[in-house]
Amino acid sequence: MIDAIKKFINSFFMDLFQNKKHIKLGLYGPPNGGKTTLANKICKDWLGETMGKVSSIAHETREIQIKEQINIKSGRKELSFNLVDTPGIATKIDFEEFMKKGLGEKDAKKRAKEATKGVIDAIKWLDDMDCVIVVLDATKDPYSQVNITIIGNLEARDIPVLIVANKIDLRKSDIKKVQAAFPQYTVVGISAKKGTNIDKLYEGVFDLVA
């Protein structure tokens, strides 16, 4: 009991004087937007290790992945969070698409089955998030219904959202189109793969939880 009280007092004063916050930060978005690449970049920057495997075949991340206790700093501000990388949310999953990318039928069907479960899990986890980074591929049409549904549901749950327009290193990318699609949100253009504008992303995360 005394230990518990000591713990509470310690954490209270830690929060008070160090401006330190602890939250659950989710990465959401459609498949192949670069969520895991971004998760890896964040983990590499602050923990020195990666988080998950990336692939050009969609639905590589089929299970929720969590990295605990990531501490990021910017000036006097400090933020501690658990990073939750979620499977891409989609309205369709076709095993034949995986076969076109070179998988055998059995593997393709297995991947499709796991991917459907991953989407369901990602949706179930929405309620557990304190704030969310929605990772969109800036080379693709931002008006897709999946994007609108994810962001609309986060808004309905009062969960703060930061939109990331990823892949700005590619010529086809168009951040303005993403900004035009979601004018009420902050949109940060980054390249998770090349590390471009990652500092702006961290500033955005601090603003999100401020």
Binding site: A90, T91, K92, A112, I120, Q145, V146, G152, N153, A156
Partner: protein
């Protein structure tokens, strides 16, 4: 290959539970028809629709393509947003149109805020210009609003 569009007036789903609405739309899509729904689902129903779709995916049913178009979504004008928000409170989610079809037929839905373009399986591109439909939809929504007011 012919494409069948089935129009569902909002009155057909108005009194259904969330699950009932989702079931109705998915059943039509699984019968290889494209649904044109007057109005839209609630936000939480949209996400439930995705979840239920995922639960039902198998070798024959590969999921759905979906798009929603509604007045005010592309405006940054706060007054207009408030106006449409207020109308929504009055008449439910009757404004706008939802289009939803099986992924085996609808390959892609391209949307700019005021126009929806369906790309179908046999690469026939079916352009569905919804502006006219939208106007009629708004007209019926206004009628419903007025009749509610009278009541």
């Amino acid at each position: 290959m012919g494409v069948t569009l089935q129009f569902i007036p909002y009155t057909e789903i108005e009194d259904l539970s969330s699950l009932g609405r989702i079931r109705k739309l998915l059943t039509i899509a699984k019968n290889n028809k494209i649904v044109l729904l007057e109005g839209r689902l609630r936000k939480e129903e949209e996400v439930e629709l995705i979840k239920t779709t995922m639960e039902e995916i198998n070798d024959d049913f590969r999921g759905i393509e979906m798009a929603v178009i509604y007045p005010g979504e592309d405006t940054e004008d706060m007054l207009k947003k408030l106006k449409f928000g207020f109308i929504n409170i009055l008449i439910g989610n009757r404004l706008g149109i939802t289009i939803l079809g099986p992924a085996s037929i609808v390959k892609e839905i391209k949307k700019d805020p005021k126009r929806i373009q369906l790309v179908t399986e046999d690469d026939g591109t079916t352009k569905v210009h919804l502006k006219e439909k939208q106007k009629r939809n708004n007209h019926s929504a206004n009628k419903a609003k007025n009749s509610k007011k009278r009541r």
